[in-house]
């Protein structure tokens, strides 16, 4: 089985910051808006290098989304930055009407998604954002897994014309995807080849899935790990091709099972090839304060949980 190496832990939000800084140099139409979280979103470098293209809106997310929609009229490519909770739930109607329904080329960039925000607790740990965003017609939804991929995705979405929700996180996590990768929206990345179970993971759970695959290999189970960085549009072909071989699947995400990646995958399978599926996701609950590792353990979002789910789903074949 192909092995992956952590080249040094980094936060995905810094990947966003690095990508945005790069875009600042290469695309003069890129503008950035931030609602008083410049440091948290790692937008400092863009701000320092391009102050005329950086818009501090204060703690006013609704205005930020509306302004971003307006700035596209005139050819700008706005990247908005705040926490995932304030990027989605707080401004759902602004995104729905001024961005999605209006077809505006706005990139909604959201950090601190999910439980791994940690100690701040449930007020800030949104676990419903993927669902909220994927339900909007025309919205592309991306959840990247590490620093390198987040940087590549940030650069890639600027080239795509249309609204995008780009989700990433706060903690330092393994950085294992290639530095020079080309990010293709909607194209899944197969990380390992396997015959017994397909593990489809997104965001921080991709590394956990790889750890799980190693543990499963020691038990004589061969797992095919697929990194689904784009939840919408979903790479149906990659999923169907894999389950055609493995006959069972585990989906893994740092999100509520309602509305998340798992449900999107389940629909594809139900329509095309009904397949036993286990869901690694939160179970319709709010989070709480704790360290990221404690929370991922308590809510069952880590390699151990994926191993157990894989063993369960294999028995259901």
């Amino acid at each position: 089985m192909k092995k992956y190496t952590d080249t040094g832990k980094k936060d995905t939000r810094s990947g966003f910051g690095a990508g945005l800084a790069e875009l600042g140099k290469t695309n003069e139409n890129v503008v950035a808006l931030c609602a008083d979280l410049t440091g948290s979103l790692k937008m400092d470098e863009f701000k320092a290098n391009h102050p005329e293209r950086f818009f501090q809106v204060g703690i006013a997310e609704a205005n930020m989304i509306g302004m971003a929609a307006g700035m596209t009229i005139g050819g700008k490519i706005p990247f908005t930055g705040t926490f995932a909770n304030f990027s989605t739930g707080r401004v759902y109607d602004q995104i729905r009407q001024s961005v999605a329904y209006s077809g505006k080329n706005v990139k909604i960039c959201a950090s601190h998604a999910g439980l791994t925000l940690g100690e701040d607790g449930a007020t800030h740990q949104i676990l419903e954002d993927i669902g909220l965003m994927k339900m909007l017609p025309g919205m592309t939804v991306i959840n990247t897994c590490d620093f390198n991929q987040t940087k590549a995705a940030t650069i890639a979405v600027a080239e795509y014309d249309g609204p995008v929700y780009l989700r990433f996180g706060r903690p330092k996590v393994a950085n294992f995807t290639p530095e020079d990768q080309k990010f293709e929206i909607g194209k899944a990345v197969q990380l390992t080849e396997g015959n017994d179970v397909t593990i489809v993971a997104t965001g921080h759970l991709v590394w956990e899935a790889l750890q799980a695959a190693e543990q499963l290999e020691e038990k004589g189970i061969s797992a095919e790990v697929i990194n689904i960085h784009t939840i919408k549009p979903l790479d149906k072909e990659a999923i169907l091709n894999s389950v055609n071989k493995t006959k069972c699947i585990v989906t893994a995400e740092e999100h509520n099972y309602l509305g998340g990646l798992g449900e999107s995958v389940a629909r594809v399978l139900a329509e095309n090839n009904p397949t036993p599926q286990e869901f690694i996701a939160t179970s319709d609950c709010f989070g709480e304060s704790g360290t990221p590792d404690q929370l991922m353990e308590k809510y069952g979002l880590n390699a151990n949980s994926i191993v157990k789910a894989s063993e369960t789903v294999i028995k259901r074949k």
Binding site: F55, A69, Q97, S98
Partner: protein, 282 residues
């Protein structure tokens, strides 16, 4: 193209007919606020703004208009059509299935002249500010105009935007508030008194100009031209446009009753009689 006062008034009269006929045909829509703003729209599109009817979304080197209170779509559609953005005959499809003239304006159906969807209230000020900032980045000296209902100011997002515009010196924006004192449930004073709106804008750091006779086309044009003189001086500009809801149709005036209600056949006939055909019905 400059017009004399009679030509402009004739234009307004025809727009009123279009409004009544659009909402009557589908027995739905918002005639009251539409009628009250007829002079404002005719002033903008016939006298004030520089624009191309060869519609381009980016609108570079053009003045742009954003309608925040999207429910007054009948007046917007009528003036856009009669200004050359799309065929006047298309007004007959207002609120019909498969129409580009949706109940509330949208870019989704590709109707020329519309740059953002509106209807869910309180969002247009932010969009207008964003477009104004884009114009500054593009070194485009044309202006952004926007229109907002007075009741709409109850939406908090407006005040985020109003605060931003002053703080960031968005001085290429003229935001007009339609002060008709009415909203769906009654007068704004009954529903949620907003105090002194002029003082609020002034306190937030805007220039404020009042047009007391918002249903007098000459006064409206004069007022907007005065507002233009206030742009480019470091402050966003607000026009408080005093209008009468339902203006031009006697039984619809001075009441919220016609905010979102269509006239029946008899009422339509009376309304049309009070506003004789001038430019030709569609």
């Amino acid at each position: 193209m400059p017009h004399n006062t009679q030509q402009l008034e004739d234009f307004v009269t025809q727009v009123r007919r279009d409004i009544l006929r659009q909402v009557h045909k589908v027995n739905s829509g918002h005639p009251g606020g539409s009628l009250g703003c007829a002079e404002f729209f005719v002033a903008l599109y016939q006298e004030i703004m520089e624009y191309s009817t060869d519609f381009d979304m980016d609108g570079k080197n053009e003045d742009l208009f954003f309608l925040s209170n999207g429910h007054i779509s009948p007046v917007f559609y009528s003036v856009l059509a009669r200004s050359g953005f799309f065929p006047v005959e298309e007004l007959a499809t207002f609120r019909h299935i498969d129409s580009r003239l949706q109940g509330h304006p949208t870019t989704h159906e590709g109707l020329p002249g519309i740059r953002v969807a509106s209807g869910s209230l309180g969002q247009g000020m932010s969009v207008a500010i964003g477009a104004a900032e884009a114009k500054k980045l593009n070194k485009d000296n044309h202006l952004i105009y926007s229109l907002h209902g007075d009741g709409e100011l109850q939406e908090g997002q407006n005040w985020e935007a109003i605060m931003y515009a002053a703080a960031h010196k968005v001085d290429n924006l003229i935001a007009t508030v339609d002060l008709n004192g009415q909203q769906i449930d009654g007068s704004t004073e009954d529903v949620l008194p907003m105090g002194n709106i002029k003082d609020k804008f002034l306190a937030f750091g805007w220039e404020v100009l009042e047009i007391e006779k918002g249903n007098n086309i000459v006064e409206v044009i004069k007022g907007i031209k005065e507002a233009q003189q206030l742009t480019g001086k470091g402050k966003p500009v607000c026009i408080l446009l005093h209008t009468v809801m339902g203006n031009g149709v006697d039984f619809m005036m001075h009441t919220h009753a016609w905010h979102g209600k269509a006239p029946n056949d008899e009422q339509l006939a009376i309304g049309l009689e009070q506003n004789p055909e001038t430019l030709g019905d569609y």
